[in-house]
Symmetry: C2
Subunit: 449 residues, 2 copies
Amino acid sequence: MKETIQLHKETFIKELQEFLRIPSISAVDKHKGDVKKGADWVAGSLAKAGMENVEIIPTEQHPIVYADWMHAKGKPTVLVYGHYDVQPPEPLDLWETPPFEPQIRDGKIFARGATDDKGQLFIHIKAVELLLEENGELPVNIKFCVEGEEEIASPNLGPFIDANREKLTADAVVISDTSFLEPGQPAICTSLRGALAMEVNVKTANSDLHSGVYGGGVPNAVHALIHLLDSLHEEDGKIAVKGFYEGVPEPTEELRKEVAEIPFNEQKTKQDLGLKALYGEQGFTFHERTGIRPTLEINGVSGGYQGEGIKTIIPCEASGKISCRLVGEQDPGQVYERIEQHLHDHKPAGANVTLKQFIQAKPVALDSKDAMIQKAADAYEKVYGVRPLFPKEGGSIPIVENFARVLSAPVVLMGFGLPSENLHAPNEHFHLENFEKGIETVCEYLRYL
Amino acid sequence: MKETIQLHKETFIKELQEFLRIPSISAVDKHKGDVKKGADWVAGSLAKAGMENVEIIPTEQHPIVYADWMHAKGKPTVLVYGHYDVQPPEPLDLWETPPFEPQIRDGKIFARGATDDKGQLFIHIKAVELLLEENGELPVNIKFCVEGEEEIASPNLGPFIDANREKLTADAVVISDTSFLEPGQPAICTSLRGALAMEVNVKTANSDLHSGVYGGGVPNAVHALIHLLDSLHEEDGKIAVKGFYEGVPEPTEELRKEVAEIPFNEQKTKQDLGLKALYGEQGFTFHERTGIRPTLEINGVSGGYQGEGIKTIIPCEASGKISCRLVGEQDPGQVYERIEQHLHDHKPAGANVTLKQFIQAKPVALDSKDAMIQKAADAYEKVYGVRPLFPKEGGSIPIVENFARVLSAPVVLMGFGLPSENLHAPNEHFHLENFEKGIETVCEYLRYL
């Protein structure tokens, strides 16, 4: 298979470049047409690969692409999930080459969506194409379910899964939207934190007031907001919201050992990120804090005068963004209510506080001993010569929980990205070596299922 | 005199409109030429009034206009200070008529600078003109010192006063840049708070980090900033900076009584401003808090994602604006150092904190029993039928302290504005009744000095 891939390599990369040229930015209204183009392109590419029953299914926002090949009687069925939408490319001035004009430099392809998730999704389409080309049939039954709303928290895919349980039913869900731990060290992520995001708004007066006239005598919306936000953490890094930790499991010795195996160079991490010190919940290591513990981060804050110099006003409005990563049995709805209660309890006199919720996703834990996951590990080992580790990802892929719950199938997070590939940032790229080896790995996996 | 004013009224208002049409915005570079036009206009207007030795004195930024009339042998000398520069007019969409196209509605003239300070300054120019016209001479010696940098904290006037002590020497400095307490209730402000303003910047990493990958494990610049800013106040509204209150006098019974005489309707204030509650230092009334107590207000805050929805980042930078109003013997330089020390002491691990200072002005207390002030009160009483009160203004006119100190002369803050005239805000205006009566009051004052 390796030789066949080498033979087709240039064509595949040309096709991927075509895919990456589509600015399918799901968050931005004016790109709605481009997102549709992305769906059309994926559907065309699946049909070309030999997939059957290719459908573009409209939703309230961006379409879902479905296809299947179901002729491997008595063999398991694999559902491949991926997404063809991408993050906005801003800030544009930090890109070395334009985000939607893919360029190859130094064995990497640079473009928005290169690693997240067009390049990784395309691995599966090409693997199926090669297998069908070589054998006229596939070793297993395959379904594709590809969405265009992952970067906006999949508002329509959850309901679609609920409504199409039968259509999507499978023995394993395979997703390539995660990363290796470092070059040469594959990883199958077995835990994703849940997510919860919200905005707090504080209002204290009809308009900003002159601090010379009213200073010291009226509430200040920025004071109130920072007081509320600062109250969310204890001095020792613990989250101060009552009941926040309910459902968070005490990490077992085994889990802590597993996490401790993930390589970590504190000095290098600090140097790479420009940190003077690490930070976090007392009593836990860096990888525990970022992988298996829940968090509450303030993602942004604004209020009052923010220009150059000074304007001596008492701001009447202020706003903050908060997001949490959740683990274990933490319920996002309940955590939201508890944060709401906390803000209510800590509200300074004279402040009107309102809360708006954005994202909500349950945590997911996958069993690394599941056969479907172990066979994926075998495939990696065959191609890369190294057995994957099973890290606990700090991030969230909200839809994983829906797939696992509704289809009662193991989810296999077969990532081919690298943590250094500027996911969601300027100069996103994907290593072509992992694109090629990824196709080989997926072929190996499907053959031996 | 009243009749003469009535006779000239329309011409005077036409001239004032001409003055108000000049967008002499000192803070904005592209208006440098307009600020110069403002200086020329004032110089022309002083010459037309009969003032002598009119000079336009260039500074590093905007010019100072000087003029005098020194033929009243054996009579006192009054130095009139005012400013011809104005605040930026933004937000423009909130103006009912354009800020630099003065319009008269309902007895008020609407334009940027109408009350602050062009209209109030023009009162003095017209008073001198009428007195000279009527008598061929003035009852006292007069000097004008008019600057174009008041709205940017007078960076060049302080040094100019220091360098021109002799030239500016006077028995009283008269400034009309303050307000009545309410319509019909004149006020001579006898206390101005000092001012101090700064910006705090926090940096924690080279770039924003993904909260899924690093959340819980690295410092967050917004967390650090809000923690620092929230630490500046105690729960009871007191300022928590060690040594901040040094030099703040315990208010005497007499002072408290004087402040208590200032009318205050809590219900109406709350309703007008849209407040749910007042706020401030325990143990002090509203007018004490806003007039004779020092304050520390956060004027603005920003960091991380501030757009719509959510972006799950860990911000690497955050910034806040702080300003203080100072009283008594508080020294702005020392207070600045103490805030710097406080921020240093409360700095969370991993945060780089830098501080930048903008404004610094000492507090000023004037003696309401001074003859020059009492004679001004007589003049008001004659024209308005009501004796002025002597409020403690919460605001700052930084240059007042320089005049008082360098010239060793009483400063008479003869305001003709109203607190409701949208100072520094859209739809700034000036009541024409106070423009006319102001001219009459100043004539009365100069006659009986």
